[in-house]
């Protein structure tokens, strides 16, 4: 028996503790919004947030998230309402076939929430673990940048540098 919080609700999974989180969510709790694309931690379609951080749920046995806070795509927006990120992705054309979309949205959601920057290069780096074969990423990057800018405007701190620094920036400073 494994107890965890999923989208704000305490849930109990009665199956085997080595069941993968992706299967617990999809088959155990009927939350089929989380997708499985490769089963090797490579495509990012199964990305969910654990304690606010993106992880690939195909690589997590449920026993490892006992007592943790899990967020899935179903936590965003509502039946009739889209979250600002979902809305921006719809309007910018960031979702095509849609199979990578839930994982992409969760990665981007974590980025926006923890203060990620609106610089395209930084966003690209943040999304680099989520493969998309349809869009060429441009519209996705545009949508995320737009939401970050909206966030910064709301907070009135558009001039303040973002907290999460870009690893690209750090890497380009490397010695050659």
């Amino acid at each position: 028996m494994t107890r965890l919080t999923v989208n704000g609700r305490v849930r109990v999974f009665r199956g085997h503790p080595f069941t993968r989180l992706v299967d617990v969510l999809r088959e155990g709790f009927g939350l089929t919004g989380t997708k499985e694309g490769c089963g090797e931690g490579e495509c990012g379609a199964c990305t969910v947030l654990v304690d606010g951080q993106p992880v690939m749920s195909c690589l997590v046995p449920v026993c490892q998230v006992e007592g943790r806070r899990v967020e899935t795509i179903e936590s965003l927006g509502g039946l009739e309402r889209l979250d600002p990120l979902q809305k921006a992705l719809l309007e910018e054309g960031g979702a095509q076939c849609g199979i990578c979309t839930p994982g992409m949205v969760m990665t981007a959601h974590a980025w926006v929430r923890r203060g990620g920057s609106s610089r395209p290069a930084a966003i690209r780096e943040a999304l680099a673990g989520n493969l998309c074969r349809c869009t060429g990423y441009q519209h996705i990057v545009d949508a995320v940048a737009r939401v970050v800018r909206e966030r910064d405007r709301r907070r009135g701190d558009a001039k303040r540098p973002s907290r999460a620094t870009s690893r690209t920036a750090r890497r380009t400073g490397r010695h050659r």
Partner: protein, 745 residues
């Protein structure tokens, strides 16, 4: 020309963004079994015996072999050479032999490990050159699946008289579609004996045709429904018929629903890929650079069965010249069979292979003539009134020059070429920089008389609730069919988009509008939607005098119009314009109703230490006639060029003994957000008179263009002409090492 985001938002978008869209593996599946496939481990051999471990509890499982197939053991497509399950002989590794189903997903894989197939190995043919030599016959009579010849003028005479003759050979490898949703299908038999399959697919009526044959059922007893589909790119054109047949066979034996969903490795190792090809050019030109003769030899590897290879070859051959006018052309194209998993449809469908050669060949020609490749293209590019290799006169909507000039300007091609020449002279810079251009055409719709044979149908229904339903078998696989048809129907009818619903692709509900392939959805099926909408509008206007402007008014009118029927239905069928003529025997005439055009400028750098290539910017222009929704067109173009960048630089399907050695996304690398440069897309509109609102096809065009521009840019940067894809750093190093005369590091 404009770059503006407008057009219909995807009606299905919100569900996808909320995770509510149901893909095949998300469908409720009570009481169902999970199916899996035992595949051959040798590239060619006779099956001596199939043994089931006696200790394994087989009573928990359902198994099926070729002997269980009630109808004909084939996946019916163009030919009927491919068995649904191998019987007696295997012709490629990873060929399906036995199916197993079990209530527990992982138990089914365990069961596979307890089945043993004994083979008598036969000598395989693994390369296209060996196949062509035909020392080992693997397909009667000469290992050739299809040959195509295109002849125009007197090539030998023209070559003899040419000022310059330039030769070159180019090679392209397999490419995996790498849709993020793997293949998957569910099947069950309903009480009245109807076989119902639902899954991830592009062409419901192809699946129906295959199942009718394999299960010896009448058409009405086979219903095929598309679930939300997570990408296709051609990879879900023919292979879903195989998966559906397997699931159905197990369901029939089990008397229960069966689901087969491939995992990534199985999908990559077993399903179809883009055809590898070798293309040779011998080109005669005047001293000024005007084409006088193109002699082109195309060889493609079809794999073990015909699948769609004959038509892939056809499209490859028809695009082999590039978008240029030349008085004397000879194309000899040949598709051979090898003992490797069959290749099949993938966005571009033969054209990216031959266009890579045609476009990169200009770099060689430019070198031989000491002239700029861009100027040479301008001299030879097709225009309105040009005659193609098949004798087709291009009457209208020829945007070749527009797209080329657009990218050259926006991509600052000439300035950068000069700038980079200076940059590359300094050894202090950590990279070499280069810029490359390419331009291409892509025939919209089926080749030749294909559309006439298909005779596609579309229906529109006005329901009693005042709702307009569009009934087509064209599938939404990410490209925006739903949005495009919604917009088209609403605009033509003069009603709000919210009143229009696109019926799901279900052979029980929608007529056969042909497959969702060949960039035909918008132009051909969209054209039928437009015509049906016009007729429905006329019917409504006849009765009401004007189009209802409120929903309440529409419901009132709809009730009146429907009378006792649940809906007022109008149907349209494709009629082939009589002036579009094609001779399949001689390959003369109008190969396609019209062509889309695209051009791209690739700006990149090559690291001087590691030879890694980084694309800095990619500028593309497409002529799609008229963009029904610029946002959707932009999305298609960006996705297509990114797949092409993968083709050019990363995607390296590694085959040994007829098996892909890297069937994981860890080892077969597709571009991430960091590998993809900022993409700049321009839409050029040269309307086509027969397209809906002037639209031509768009889906495949962007896949055709970037690879040769990448190779040209690498050439510009390093002085090395790499004629084989992908252009890996290892290959650049190798080229440097084997050619010490080149620029020293």
């Amino acid at each position: 020309m404009k770059k503006k985001r407008s057009g219909v938002l995807r009606p299905e978008g919100p569900d996808k963004l909320r995770g509510l869209a149901r893909y095949v593996d998300d469908l409720p599946f009570p009481g169902g079994l999970h199916g899996a496939t035992l595949r051959s481990t040798v590239p060619r051999g006779r099956i001596r015996a199939i043994r089931f471990d006696p200790d394994f509890p087989w009573d928990e499982c359902v198994t099926a072999t070729a002997a269980d197939i009630p109808g004909q053991n084939c996946v019916a497509l163009i030919e009927e050479d491919q068995p649904l399950l191998a019987d007696g002989e295997v012709r490629h590794a990873m060929e399906p032999i036995v199916l197993v189903a079990h209530a527990e997903r992982h138990r089914v894989y365990e069961a596979l490990g307890h089945i043993h197939v004994e083979y008598e190995p036969l000598e395989p043919v693994l390369s296209m050159e060996d196949a062509l030599e035909a020392k080992v016959p693997v397909r009667a009579p000469d290992n050739v699946i299809k040959r195509i010849s295109i002849d125009k003028g007197d090539v030998d005479g023209a070559l003899a008289g040419a000022d310059v003759v330039v030769e070159g050979e180019y090679r392209v490898p397999h490419q995996e579609q790498a849709y993020i949703e793997n293949q998957g299908m569910t099947a069950r038999f309903e009480e009245d004996g109807t076989l119902l399959v639902e899954g991830s697919l592009q062409c419901p009526y192809y699946v129906q045709k295959a199942l009718v044959r394999a299960f010896a059922l009448p058409k009405e007893k086979v219903r095929v429904v598309q679930a939300t589909t997570g990408g296709g790119f051609g990879g879900k054109e023919e292979y879903p018929s195989m998966v559906a047949g397997h699931a159905a066979l197990l369901a029939r034996k089990a008397g229960r629903p069966v689901k087969i969903v491939y995992d990534r490795t199985e999908d990559m190792v077993a399903t179809t890929k883009r055809h590898p090809a070798r293309v040779r050019h011998r080109t005669g030109l005047t001293r000024e650079g005007k084409l006088v003769a193109q002699d082109i030899d195309v060889l493609m590897d079809g794999g073990a069965y015909a699948t769609l290879s004959p038509v892939v070859l056809s499209r490859g051959a028809l695009h082999a010249t590039g978008p240029y006018e030349c008085p004397n052309v000879r194309v000899r194209a040949c598709m051979v069979a090898t003992n490797t998993p069959p290749n099949g449809a993938f966005r571009g469908f033969g054209a990216p292979q031959t266009l890579f050669a045609a476009e990169l060949h200009w770099e060689r020609i430019a070198g031989a003539l000491k002239k700029d490749a861009l100027r040479l293209r301008r001299l030879n590019l097709v225009r309105e009134g040009s005659e193609t290799a098949t004798g087709q006169v291009l009457h209208e909507s020829v945007g070749a020059r527009d797209v080329l000039e657009a990218v050259v300007r926006r991509g600052r091609y000439s300035e950068k070429k000069r700038e980079y020449a200076r940059w590359n002279r300094s050894r202090r810079h950590p990279s070499w920089r280069g810029i490359g251009v390419s331009v291409c055409h892509h025939g919209a719709g089926f080749t030749g008389s294909g559309e006439a044979f298909l005779a596609s149908r579309v229906a529109l229904a006005l329901t009693r609730k005042g709702e307009i339903r569009v009934l087509t078998s064209s599938t939404e696989i990410g490209q925006g069919t739903i949005a495009a048809f919604t917009g088209l129907a609403a605009r033509t009818l003069g009603v709000p988009e919210e009143w229009v619903t696109i019926e799901r692709a279900d052979t029980g509900l929608v007529p056969d509008s042909g497959p969702t392939v060949a960039s035909r959805t918008c132009m051909i099926v969209g054209g039928l939607v437009e015509r049906a909408a016009q007729r429905l509008r006329e019917r409504i206007l006849e009765s009401t005098g004007r189009m209802p402007s409120t929903r309440a008014e529409m419901v009132r009118e709809a009730r009146r119009l429907c009378g006792r029927e649940p809906a007022l239905r109008v149907e349209e069928q494709y009629t082939h314009p009589p002036e579009i003529r094609w001779d399949e025997e001689t390959y003369r005439g109008d190969a396609y109703p019209v062509y889309g055009y695209g051009a791209t400028v690739v700006d990149l750098e090559v690291d001087r230490t590691t030879f890694e290539v980084r694309v800095r910017r990619l500028t593309t222009a497409v002529d799609v006639g008229r963009a029904l929704s610029p946002r959707l067109v932009e999305g298609q173009v960006m996705g297509g060029v990114t797949q092409a960048l993968g083709y050019a630089l990363l995607e390296n399907a590694d085959y040994h003994d007829g098996v892909m050695q890297n069937p994981q996304l860890t080892n077969y690398l597709i571009p991430t957000a960091l590998d993809t440069p900022p993409l700049d897309v321009m839409i050029v509109q040269r309307p086509y008179s027969r397209g809906p609102l002037g639209a031509k096809g768009v889906g495949e065009l962007p896949m055709d263009i970037p690879a040769p521009a990448v190779a040209a840019a690498v050439h510009d940067a390093t002085g090395l002409l790499l004629t084989e894809l992908p252009i890996l750093p290892e290959r650049i190093l190798e080229a440097f090492s084997s050619d010490p005369a080149h620029r020293q590091r």
